[in-house]
Amino acid sequence: MPTIADKLAGLWPEIVMLLGAVACLAAGLSASARTRRLTPWIAGGTMALAWIFALWTGIDADHPLGLGGVVTYVKCLVLVLGLVLLLVCAGVPEGLKQTAAAEGARFDPGLSVRGEFYFFFLLSITGVMLTAGATDLVWLFLALELTSLPTYVMIAMTRDRTVAHESAVKYFFLGALSAAMFLYGFALIYGATGFTEFGPIRDAVAVSSETGLSDPSPLMLMGIVLSVLGLCFKVAAVPMHVYTADVYQGAATPVTAFLAVVPKVAGFAALIMVLHLLGLDRLPEPVLYLLGAIGVLTMTVGNVLAFVQTNLKRVMAYSSVANSGYMMLGLMAGLGVPGNALGNGPAAVLFFLLAYGFGSIGAFAVIAALAAQRSPDGADHTDATGVADDLEYDDLAGLWWRSPVLGGVMLVSMLTLVGMPPLSGFMGKFFLIGGVLNAGFYGLVIVLVINSAISAGYYLRIAMLTFFGESSSAPAVILPEGRRGPRVVGAVIAGIAGLLIGGLPGNSVVRNAREAFEPVPAPASAEPETVQAAADESTASAPAVARSQAAGLADAVPTP
């Protein structure tokens, strides 16, 4: 029985994040203008500190599913992406007209949203970290909600346009629907096993297949299916993808970058945990069919719809849908052979998340640093920050010649997302395909390759336009220094990272992703005997309870 102190010891990064979030809230509402300007710096410092703590606390060898490595990997992953996202998002609340009004001669705390923005930013990332670290269905549910709830507010408050409010409401309603759905799934899992803790659930599933009831029980399977369907919302996969384009278009572009990355990481972390209750290596057939169908539909729908869009944010939204489809296939590929990254599907997903994250952030950061000049239907497309970000393809025409930095980042991001060989996206797809091939799903590999070809259609169109495009109307202008904040820096970092992790540094990331799924050698302890005894006791008692539970169920079941 771990004490509260043991439990908290693994949660230092999250505690740091929560304290930092409250500090941001306080600083954003401070009476002194200087303290208020410090808020984004506090947010950045908090994430850097949390990253150090995440590395320092290390891998939890006693993770009930043996996924302690995944927990640490996802925490570091989301903090790295979060730091880049902060560069892209910093300046969003500062640029609002509302903030300008609040920061008048006398500071009006009722109007200011600066503290809240960074507060919610950090809370959402904390939610992802907690999702990865969850060892209990209650905890997982709360963590997933902590990831989502702040994002609804972030969409609504960073743009004073009806379209943003509408997309916030739309996102919220579908989010509530999906939450109810995976919650029902969790309730059924609890009903099938009698536990909400991951360890006992897993033991109960193992026992139920031993006693020959069914493998696993239909109730459990139903629970997993509903959980997966509900989690599809978080990763923007097919049955729950309908919000994507509208919400991504309606939100302010930096917030869109956040939406495209952070909930997706949470969703895939949660999917890995939930599926590993059954064992990622031995998923039952119905779950495999479900994942395969979701994957194929998601990538096809995403790519086809992205192909016909003209608004860049909608193109990128459907590209985000399509990428979720690729990763879904990775989840069904199984863990492969220990020690070999090629063939480990979930590890490929973890790596792909990083590659996709940098590619997407780069693209959205470039869009966020541009402002459209024309207004096609005469409507005012500028938001409260004075930015018209409803960019079309033509707006990128010849971007390279006007700003080599932005053009270069766009090029790298697009090539990463296509999966061009020297870039990180290539490695991601390479390992994904390797995993799916290893599992023997040849048909799915063909679908994946065809889809990559379709996606090349629109990605390369954007890449070509930045070089050779000639615009008939006036192309988008680059925002002046004061209005764009550190977005360009964020874009450059995302681009460089997308380049680098395709090369040698990528190998170590792949190795980390692979090792995340391998059992961790127990750390050397000062008192090995007592630790061993405690471990024996805990491992012995949990299956015993599960066993008696399952036996009780078996007695209650009339044999047909």
Partner: protein, 123 residues
């Protein structure tokens, strides 16, 4: 193998969809001035429901809702707390008191925030 769950699912779905279909088929479709008026617990409504409420009402309602739910956590804690102090409680009372105080602290932070934002200013 999916018998039981299937029956459950089938019954639930048929009940849900069936009700919608049946109301459409069987229900009388009355549309009139009285039917369209606002329901005010049997009173005749005065004025239009489109009249704008002061936004304070919503803010107070939201604040109430959030602080109200905290009682849900206090109640089970209060119900079991006396048992924790006794000999069979292993002296857990202190620890649980600290936990609840920490929980209270989070509420205090929320309260302070609401105060700073001027939620409780009624002038």
């Amino acid at each position: 193998m999916f018998g039981a769950v299937g029956v459950l699912l089938l019954m639930a779905v048929s009940f849900g969809v069936g009700n919608i279909v049946l109301t459409h088929l069987l229900g009388p479709s009355r549309k009139g001035e009285v039917k369209g008026t606002v329901y005010e617990s049997g009173m005749n409504p005065i004025g239009s429901a489109r009249r704008r409420f002061n936004v304070r009402f919503y803010i107070v309602a939201m604040t109430f809702l959030l602080f109200d739910v905290e009682i849900v956590f206090f109640y089970p804690w209060a119900a079991t707390f006396t048992k924790l102090g006794g000999p069979e409680g292993d002296g857990l009372a202190g620890m649980f008191l600290v936990r609840m105080l920490f929980f209270l602290l989070t509420s205090v932070i929320a309260f302070t925030y609401a105060w700073r934002k001027g939620v409780f200013r009624y002038d």
